[in-house]
Symmetry: D2
Subunit: 147 residues, 4 copies
């Protein structure tokens, strides 16, 4: 999906996940830490969909460690629920990769959680890149993302 | 440890953890999601230390689901590192439990990550408590925390 | 799928999984402990498919804790691999639930791992059931499984 | 600890672990897959204690992937339990690293689980070593292990 929202182009991926028994805690709800994996599921699905997976980045000579992550928990998912992870690419002038996430219960679109992550670029010498690497600029152009 | 910081009483716990092989990702650094477990280690150590563990809360008739969590990644931990999780109780007028966390590498005090979590109180009918439960007010009094 | 193999009826489920970045260790292969989750994915897919999910069992008044699990690792899965988990119900006279598992890489059917699990029945008082509960006997009959 | 048992020298390590809230499932017992991490805790503690950690092996030019793992569940650990993981090195003529594990509840020595793992040696070209690498033979000699 590619939408135009005011002046900015946003890319969105949606992927389905199945809650596992092992992800549910003794309160019978999904343990809060599992949402970090759900966001990763979303980010990886986004990467496969739009050609910017971890391996694409790695093969361009970079790694993209996480520098900030946050999550708001709205309503709990439970055992046997299926959920949709919506992952949105947020464009930034800085040398950063920013995603926002929404996790919905599939059956009724209940919003379970929202989140946001920020990653930076390290080169092969594990040095922080202060400007966006060429491959990332090319990737943005390919999807008509400005800046 | 109990310190007085401007007008507010803060309780602090420090606990040591050992990085596991399974917690390290293909970049040879601790996977970012593991810090959610490290914060939980800190919170549980705090709970055992100050008498407000998950079971203490549960036996008082409440559960305390997470409603917000965030994490800033500063410098990576690696395999075989030992780390110190510092967990600070942040007092609030609201019916919430707020903690802040700092994770240091034990060998050189390098700051690996910081974070903050917010939990709320649900009663036995899974209803949100809008005011702090009596057991929590009593717990605060016991540690000379006002409000 | 329902096949007849010598004298015994066997039920088989196959489900696809996507290897996650977080499941890969510093050797760049899926960490061996993740296969326990893959087997669970298989078992849960089997349960949904054949009407014997954890919740089906729980609503019949039982829990089914694991008493034995083993895994043989054949060839490693890597980041971005997709895999098929094949889960086979192994009939037994005893009051036990036995599954065998095979995990294949989807792209080329490479066998990644095999495994076997055994679960028992606990009633609501957490007592071990020495004979198969009625609901389990009924479930077997429904699928033409003898004994 | 170093004991002599019939004709064979056995090395044993014991390490304490704290059950985490996130490790407990909706049956309010430790999820069976967590014992794979507990065994790893034991193996890593053994490695640090006896100078054969993952990094020691890696720096000698080898990796040691798991090829077989099994676990028997005896009695469940619960939230707030502390456990002792006992890890025993089992000597073998083959080019393999074999460990056996026992996990006990610390408070009363209740046996929670037992297990066994087998690892092999891969050289830097990821080829299986059919005979024990020199560093491993040296390590055995250092601890008076024959064969």
């Amino acid at each position: 999906m590619r939408i135009k929202k005011s002046e900015e182009v946003v890319l969105i991926d949606r992927t389905a996940i199945q809650v596992r028994f092992s992800e549910v805690d003794s309160m019978r709800i999904v343990w809060h830490g599992e949402y970090v994996r759900y966001f990763e599921d979303g980010r990886e699905s986004f990467g496969r969909h739009f050609g910017i997976s971890y391996m694409d980045v790695f093969n361009s000579g970079y790694t993209i460690p996480m520098v900030e992550l946050n999550c708001q928990y709205k309503s709990p998912l439970k055992v046997d629920d299926r959920a949709i992870v919506e992952t949105r690419f947020i464009n930034s002038d800085a040398a950063k990769i920013i995603f926002e996430y929404s996790v919905f219960r599939e059956s009724d679109n209940m919003l379970a959680a929202t989140g946001r992550s920020m990653q930076v670029f390290l080169n092969k010498d594990f040095e922080l890149e202060l400007t966006s690497p060429d491959f990332f600029i090319e990737w943005k152009k390919q999807w008509n993302i400005i800046g």
